[in-house]
Amino acid sequence: MHHILSWIGVHQQMIYIVILMVFLGIEVIGRVPAVLHTPLMSGANAIHGVVIIGAIIVMGKAESDNYIALGLGFLAVVLGTLNVVGGFVVTDRMLEMFKKRK
């Protein structure tokens, strides 16, 4: 119990962010027209690609003789980049078609 309380104390900033982001996420999406559901899902998919930052940190911290960490970290960077780049490009392609019509 004590551990949990002290953890909350230490991480209160993060906890505030989590709570606020939950409300913001719901608020921001709430008014989206059905037409944009697919691009929006795809865009959100690209945004959670921020996980790439974690992959870069893992990769950058790995000791140069720890081949498991290097290998897994490299794979994580590749997959994370795929998520980010692929996600944004696919979303852009979808939206590009929306723009053509007047």
Partner: protein, 512 residues
């Protein structure tokens, strides 16, 4: 200095994510919103590479590996995203989502391996610097008191959620492109729950056993400094990983293809939460903001999709569709006969109509018939027929799937009617042509309480004077239920692949 700049960069990135998501929800700004979020992401990535420092003030190394990974992932990502056909978009999104989930799971694996030998690493480094050994005694105290268990908890959360998202997304991808068939066995839900409980249980066990182990370590710091983790922790950790993967597979396997959009959206929000776990792990606000934002928005989007089908999320996940289909045969009645229509008759009917309404469905996407469909619309419009499209929110495999598809074929935006608008116009419509849609026009949703889709809002195509249904065969749609509409007197069937049938139809109309 560098870390302060990085803080500002992460702040900017977080703002671009929020702004991007907001702009994505309005047609006029959507494309710019996507680019803004992408710019924020690039900024955050570059900032992390060059400015990140850990608690000891050490910078990242292995730049070769990092840039190698970025180049490989980036080029494959661009090529895959550019090459993919519009009809295959949903499965592409699912695949990319799976990559993100796998990335989160891999981070957890590496961090766990770091964690189970922190002392060995720290001691070795500090030994080399001789005199600092004394001051080092404080570090593990902090670990044991507040940090360790919560770090483990986050690592496990990231591992389990990320793995489920990865495995589930891959199955969803396979289902959408037809590589994986629906599969379920008796007691599958029980097995699923057991898998998940087991994974969570083992994770909890490791977390608790780690704590007690560390306390002992603190007491004899000099003796047991080399090893802090119980020897069974590592195999158990990988067991949890395996269980989570299996859970992800079995979680998605029994869910019907028609429900994949809901599943992808849900897995999308899972990956968001997994990314946010990384945010906690590295005290990284950009990861936290982006992850939770997507987690929350994705969950809401999932619920909105379920609501459009008038089903609860639980109903989708527990997979009542299959169950109800098995129970239904007892109440199955004779459907009677259906009427086929010749191409020339259909052509005649449409060219002399005042108003024609096109109802597209997945069949249109499969046949890649969107361009031909637009051609038919233009041809009829030239002949003075008013042509519109009735778009059901869950037609196709993703919400908005039809809109995207028709947009590709340059169909004008104001010709697309949403559910309510379309239903208001059906009574004044002469001919409705249903192109590969089934469940979204099934009257059972309105008048058969026993039907699994009962209560779902549908397009009331029956209100029109005539209804032509184009299908490849009389096989039921994805929900696996019969459609009474096909046997109604006003309905005429036009069998064949949507693209081919439309091409022939256009030929006939031109010949009139």
């Amino acid at each position: 200095m560098g870390s302060n700049i990085l803080t500002i960069i992460y702040l900017l990135a977080s703002v671009t994510f929020i702004l991007g998501l907001k702009m994505l929800s309005s047609p006029a700004t959507a494309r710019r919103g996507n680019l803004i979020a992408a710019a924020g992401m690039v900024l955050a990535i570059i900032g992390t590479i060059f400015l990140y420092t850990d608690e000891d003030g050490e910078r990242l190394h292995n730049y070769g590996w990092i840039f190698g990974g970025l180049v490989v992932g980036g080029s494959v990502g661009v090529i895959a995203a550019r090459k993919v056909k519009m009809t295959a978009m949903p499965e592409m999104v699912s695949l990319f989502n799976g990559m993100g989930g796998a990335c989160a799971a891999l981070i957890s694996i590496v961090e766990f391996n770091h964690l189970i030998r922190p002392f060995a690493i720290n001691m070795r480094r500090l030994m080399g610097e001789g005199e600092f050994i004394r001051s080092h005694v404080n570090i593990p105290t902090g670990f044991g008191a507040g940090g360790q268990w919560s770090i483990l908890l986050i690592i496990f959360a990231g591992l389990i959620i990320g793995s489920v998202s990865f495995a589930g997304s891959i199955v969803a991808w396979g289902k959408l492109n037809g590589r994986i068939k629906d599969y379920s066995f008796k007691g599958q839900h029980f097995v699923n729950i057991s898998l998940l409980m087991l994974a969570v249980g083992i994770a909890a066990y490791i977390i608790f056993s780690f704590r007690s182990d560390l306390t002992i370590d603190l007491a004899n710091i000099s003796v047991t400094a080399g090893s802090s983790a119980p020897s069974y922790a590592k195999p158990l950790f990988y067991t949890v990983f395996g269980l989570a993967i299996f859970y992800g597979i079995f979680f998605v396997l029994p869910i019907g293809g028609a429900d994949m959009p809901v599943v992808i959206s849900l897995l999308n929000s899972f990956t968001g939460v997994a990314a946010a776990c990384g945010g906690f792990l590295y005290d990284n606000k950009a990861m936290l903001t982006g992850g939770i934002l997507v987690g929350a928005a994705g969950t809401l989007l999932t619920i909105l999709m379920c609501r459009a089908m008038n089903r609860s999320l639980k109903n989708v996940l527990v997979g009542n569709f299959g169950g109800a289909g098995v129970a239904a045969p007892g109440t199955k009645r004779e459907q009677g006969h259906y009427r086929e229509i010749a191409l020339s008759d259909a052509a005649l009917l449409m060219s002399y109509a005042h108003k024609v309404m096109i109802v597209p469905g997945y069949g249109l996407a499969v046949a890649q018939a969107q361009h031909v469909c637009h051609e038919l619309e233009k041809l009829l419009t030239e002949k003075g027929v008013e042509v519109k499209y009735a778009i059901h929110p869950v037609a196709g495999r993703m919400p908005g799937h039809m809109n995207v598809l028709l947009a590709e074929a340059d169909v004008s935006y104001d010709k697309l009617l949403e559910l309510e608008q379309a239903n208001a116009e059906f009574p004044t419509t002469d001919v409705v042509i249903v192109l590969g849609a089934n469940d979204v026009v099934n009257p059972a949703a309105r008048n058969d309480p026993a039907s699994p889709i009962y209560g779902m809002p549908i397009l009331d195509v029956e209100l029109a004077k005539t209804c032509i249904v184009n299908k490849r065969s009389m096989k039921p749609g994805y929900a696996g239920i019969e459609n009474e509409l096909f046997f109604r007197p006003k309905t005429a069937m036009l069998f064949g692949d949507a693209k081919k049938a439309l091409q022939e139809l256009i030929g006939e109309i031109k010949n009139l």
